[in-house]
């Protein structure tokens, strides 16, 4: 049952942490301890299993039987799952340590640390659960934690709205997820994943169930068209962004498809939808990232795009490449967000237009950022290069046919992924140049303008930016190691067999992406060099506005979903008040009215009453005579 400890310890410590009183000073210590111990324990158990377990570990027990559906409370972890759990635990540990310094004067630190623990535990539950209902629990608890953490910052007016949006958009996807899970478990009579994978579904049921599950995946993994919550989620504290983007939440959708891959492998239709979704997402994310002025939004859109690479790899039949990219992405994206936190912490603004010239003052942050962006763009020999290469190779391979997904899907994914290499290199270079090179633009064109209010700490902007304190610096440096070197793990046989990766082979096919990479980075650099200090995004012209607003899909979502639902709610409420309830009230009023009429009839003066009685008698008599006569 030792595998149950991986999600169990952080979940339990998180629950205990929620009971701690909020407050400052000494009261933060137990909260920080619980948070760090939870993540560290999960990390140690995972490491122990990775080192000493030689076959997949499993443990399960009967949970509850509901009618004909049997649920098990079980955990299992193969080697691949353990590597994902390792990534989650490492990032979570870094985030917990980093947060101690980042939120050093936030009185609501205690619930924050507890929620991070719960978040981590929920993701680890998704990774290790051997029962689909257990997965669903982790899946949704993550949604709730993301809601709580994104809305954490009290001084950002947009934070509550962003938090609600994150939870609701993913919840809309989860409507599909729940229905898909229901279809799968009703047909199989159990929710044990191993049994579901072995069950023989009819094509119709399988395709319907998988498409429904893909809706949930799109929501959690921020895939088009349910990606809209992720950029707004930047309102959360920066360590939370690192957690959401690198280890939890967005990785969950990819991991779920990986876990259920034997089912997806039987459904070309589901894979085709996944592939198209991936291709659209890759380009949408990359293009939107080019025009953002907010440092964190650039990174957020880049996540959308990179997750697209993972789902693309899944669609073209290479779950191994998807998982490899998930791991390298976890490393470099966590690094980038934590480093971005250090930048924001130092300059007091999110906006690239107010940065510049940070290289000299923050060398550690600069080099970490450079490594992270290099890995993101796929510069050899950094981690992202190897994993992206794997995805591209898989897609190119699938264009020759022989995979479950149709060939045209492979072409679409391959072309989108290649084009995005160019765009990614462009925006990564732009980000690095705007933030760290040139002269400081801290005061903006209109003189001093203090953009404080992003970070949780109430800093006044320091006069000169500086590298962050130790508790923030060490996690960054620690993450820089895998961001740089994890790609070489593809050469390590243990790692390769665990992920079922193909042998790494560098042939002529890598030339094309490298040329595109150089072209993208060179273009950004050339634009910057031509007019120093001016954002290369100016060159995008009128498209800049469209990209900056994410192709206006937020507006579309508002018009197509939010407003109609509100209008419908208005109509239904009005009907409830004016028809349903009015009928009830009307019955009451009507009865009272009828009673009053009758009461009035009993109060008429004597002569009228006498006439009425006589008239009545006459009528009765007449009727009696009439009927008597007839009889």
């Amino acid at each position: 049952m030792i595998v149950a400890l991986i999600p169990g310890v952080p979940l339990l410590l998180g629950l205990i942490g929620l009971l701690l009183p909020p407050g400052d000073g000494e009261r933060r210590r137990p909260a920080a301890t619980l948070g760090i111990v939870g993540a560290a324990a999960a990390l140690l158990v995972t490491l122990g299993l990775l080192l000493f377990a030689h076959k997949p570990v499993e443990a399960s027990t009967h949970w509850v039987t509901l009618g004909s559906v049997e649920l098990t409370f079980g955990f299992s972890a193969g080697m691949a799952a353990l590597y994902v759990a390792l990534a989650v635990a490492v990032v979570a540990l870094c985030v917990q340590i980093y947060s101690v310094a980042y939120l050093h004067d936030d009185p609501r630190y205690a619930p924050y640390a507890a929620q991070v623990s719960l978040f981590t535990g929920a993701m680890l539950l998704v990774v290790t659960s051997s029962d689909l209902i257990g997965t669903l629990i982790g899946w949704e608890v993550m949604g709730a934690c993301s809601y709580l953490l994104i809305g954490h910052d009290r001084r950002l007016p947009e934070a509550p709205a962003a938090a609600v949006k994150a939870f609701l958009v993913t919840r809309v996807g989860d409507v599909g997820f729940l229905l898909g899970v229901a279809l799968l478990i009703v047909d199989a009579g159990t929710s044990r994943i191993a049994a579901l994978l072995a069950h023989d579904y009819s094509t119709g049921t399988l395709t319907a169930a998988l498409l429904l599950i893909l809706a949930g995946v799109a929501g959690k993994s921020a895939q088009f068209p349910l990606h809209t919550w992720l950029p707004d989620a930047m309102a959360g504290p920066t360590p939370i962004s690192a957690l959401i983007h690198a280890a939890t939440m967005v990785a969950a959708g990819v991991y779920l498809v990986f876990r259920l891959y034997p089912l997806f492998d039987r459904s070309p239709a589901a894979l085709a939808v996944l592939g198209v979704m991936a291709a659209v997402t890759i380009l949408l994310g990359a293009l939107s990232a080019t025009a953002q002025d907010d440092l964190k939004r650039v990174l957020a859109w880049s996540t959308v795009s990179q997750i697209g690479y993972m789902t693309g790899a899944l669609a073209v039949g290479s779950p191994a490449a998807a998982l490899f990219h998930l791991l390298t992405h976890a490393a470099f994206k966590a690094l980038l967000f934590l480093a971005a936190g250090a930048v924001i912490h130092a300059v007091g603004t999110n906006y690239l237009s107010r940065m510049g010239g940070l290289r000299e003052h923050m060398p550690v942050t600069f080099w970490s950022f450079a490594v992270g962006l290099g890995a993101l763009a796929g510069v050899p020999p950094l981690a992202g290069f190897w994993s992206k290469e794997n995805v591209l190779t898989a897609a190119a391979h699938a264009t020759e046919g022989g995979e479950t997904a149709p060939v045209w899907v492979a072409w679409v994914v391959w072309l989108a992924a290649l084009l995005a290499v160019l765009i990614t290199a462009w925006y990564a270079t732009r980000l690095l140049l705007c933030a760290f090179f040139g002269i400081s633009r801290a005061h903006g064109p209109d003189g001093p303008d203090w953009e404080i209010g992003f970070d949780d700490a109430r800093y006044t902007a320091p006069a000169t930016p500086h590298d962050p304190p130790g508790a923030m610096r060490w996690p960054i440096l620690l993450l820089a190691v895998p961001a740089a070197l994890l790609g070489l793990a593809a050469y390590a046989p243990g790692f390769r067999t665990a992920l079922e990766l193909d042998d790494p082979h560098l042939d002529v096919a890598i030339v094309l992406p490298l040329v595109l990479l150089a072209a993208g980075a060179g273009a950004a650099w050339w634009l910057w060099r031509a007019v120093p200090g001016v954002d290369p995004a100016e060159a995008l012209g009128p498209a800049r506005h469209v990209f900056a607003n994410g192709f206006h899909l937020d507006t579309l979502q508002d018009r197509a979903v939010v407003r109609p639902v509100r209008a419908l709610a208005k109509v239904v409420t009005a009907t409830d008040e004016r028809v349903v309830d009015a009928a009830v009230e009307g019955t009451g009023t009507g009865t009272t009215g009828a009673g009053e009429v009758l009461a009035m009839a009993h109060r008429v003066p004597l002569p009228t009453a006498a006439v009425a009685v006589l008239a009545g008698a006459l009528l009765l008599g007449a009727v009696a005579v009439w009927f008597g006569g007839v009889a």
Partner: protein, 485 residues
């Protein structure tokens, strides 16, 4: 008489006696009276705790056919022989969780009322407990009807006596509307009892002795009666008014257990006694349930008052319970039972919290509230927990009933039930929407009304068991369904 039979009678008798004792206390001993009443409510928990042990003892005594009632223990005493009326009580896995919920909520409400308005309220709470527990334990239809009606007037008095500004109108609407439902219940009960020649539920369950036409007629009558109580859309409009005006403990009992009499009656009496009628009417019931889920959630999106919003949320949640029942599958019925208990725990907690907020801020208008996490972080934390539980987060109690009502509808298959499952699942997303809107208005944003962050001991006492049980049932739903054969 075995000890279990004594316990069975004690569950109904103790609160009734307690109510009498509290009522005769003189006014100057008000505090002593309230403590006595609370003690009676607490002592009632003892026989309730004892009852599950009867399960093993009474297990082998019955070899009835499957589907028939198999009580853990029962008491059968002839009461009015001329009317064939028996005092027949029994408990089984369907009724026990609800009885336990009744006992728990009554104690919490009584303890909550130790400080505050008068001893009469506690006496009324005890009468309510006796009536509600009696309803759940009756194994005789006529007795069931009697207990069902006993509950009505004390609840009227609680609302009319301790409610808000518009309490008289709300109380009148509540009592008249539910009396209207009772007429149907009486007709249904009489129809069944006369046609079958007995009112004993053990003999009646399974539809023995009733022909098809009688079953159709009886089911229609019974279903309408229970639909008013549950309440099922569109027979729900008494509920928001009653909840908005009722005092905190009144709302808790009303939402926590009183509504469950409707769903319990539907499972035990309507579906149990007239299965053919239920089979025939299942699609109609399912459609109404799905309509309740969607309409309830949409209406909640437009509510501006805290208690009214929570009241309307009950319409949606009970819609899930009714959907589970309407599928008539084992999965669906079990989901309905868990949903019943979960709703009692969660909405009970929500009404306690709404009461706490209104006591502090002196308003329940969402527009006037805000920033609760700044002014009263603990209160905001518990409210967040309750709201997230209520929107059906997996891992907490609310999930099982709702998700498995959907699973049951999928299981039933076919175009109609699949559509209903989809609608119900969409309703689940809408539920999240209105609870997040509630939290955003109440807990986030700048602090509006000054709210005291101090939480009294009696408040923790009322909240903590409910919160703990929400988590416990969420992790181990077998706590509720484990009692089933």
């Amino acid at each position: 008489m075995t000890i279990y039979q004594v316990a069975l009678v004690a569950v109904v008798l103790l609160p009734a006696v307690g109510a009498g004792v509290v009522a005769v206390f003189p006014a100057r001993l008000d505090r002593a009276a309230r403590i006595t009443g609370t003690a009676f409510a607490a002592v009632t928990l003892l026989p309730i705790i004892l009852l599950p042990f009867a399960r093993q003892a009474g297990w082998t005594a019955y070899t009835a056919s499957p589907g028939a009632l198999r009580p853990w223990t029962e008491v059968d005493v002839s009461w009015v022989p001329a009317l064939h009326l028996d005092f027949h009580l029994g408990v089984d896995g369907v009724s026990y969780p609800l009885v336990a919920l009744t006992g728990l909520l009554t104690v919490l409400c009584a303890a909550y009322s130790l400080k505050g308005p008068g001893r009469a309220l506690i006496a009324l709470l005890l009468v309510l407990e006796a009536g509600i527990a009696g309803t759940f334990l009756s194994f005789d239809l006529i007795l069931f009807f009697l207990f069902f009606e006993v509950v009505l007037l004390p609840m009227y008095a609680v609302i009319a006596g301790w409610g808000g500004d518009d309490r008289r109108r709300a109380a009148r609407k509540f009592v008249l509307y539910t009396l209207f439902g009772s007429v149907f219940l009486l007709l249904g009960v009489v129809t069944v009892a006369v046609s079958a020649g007995t009112a004993d539920l053990r003999e009646l369950t399974g539809g023995a002795g009733l022909d098809r036409t009688t079953q159709y007629a009886a089911f229609t009558l019974l279903a309408i009666a229970f639909a008013v109580k549950a309440p099922l859309w569109p027979l729900h409009t008494w509920l928001p008014d009653a909840h908005t005006q009722a005092p905190t403990v009144g709302s808790v009992i009303l939402a926590g257990v009183l509504l469950k009499m409707g769903t319990y009656g539907l499972i035990r009496v309507a579906v149990g006694v007239t299965p053919q009628g239920a089979e025939k009417a299942a699609p109609v019931l399912g459609i109404l349930a799905a309509a309740a889920i969607v309409a309830g959630s949409l209406i909640c999106l437009r509510q501006t008052e805290l208690k009214r919003l929570i009241a309307y949320s009950s319409v949606g949640h009970m819609g899930f319970v009714l959907l589970g029942i309407a599928t008539l599958t084992t999965t669906g019925l079990q989901a309905a039972l868990i949903g019943n208990v979960a709703h009692g725990l969660i909405t009970g907690l929500l009404f306690f919290l709404a009461g706490a907020i209104k006591d502090r801020a002196h308003t329940g208008e969402l527009a006037d509230l805000g920033g609760l996490r700044e002014t009263a972080p603990r209160l905001a934390g518990v409210l967040g927990f309750a709201a997230i539980a209520s929107l059906g987060l997996p891992g907490l109690a609310g999930f099982w009933g709702e998700a498995f009502a959907v699973v049951a509808a999928i299981q039933r298959g076919g175009g109609l039930w699949t559509t209903l499952a989809v609608l119900a699942a969409i309703g689940g997303a809408l539920t999240a929407a209105y609870f997040l809107r509630l939290l955003r208005r109440v807990t986030h944003g700048p602090a509006a009304a000054p709210v005291s962050p101090v939480i009294a001991g009696r408040e923790w006492l009322a909240w903590a068991p409910l919160a703990a049980l929400i988590l416990a049932v969420g992790l181990a739903p077998a706590l509720v369904t484990g009692a089933l054969p």
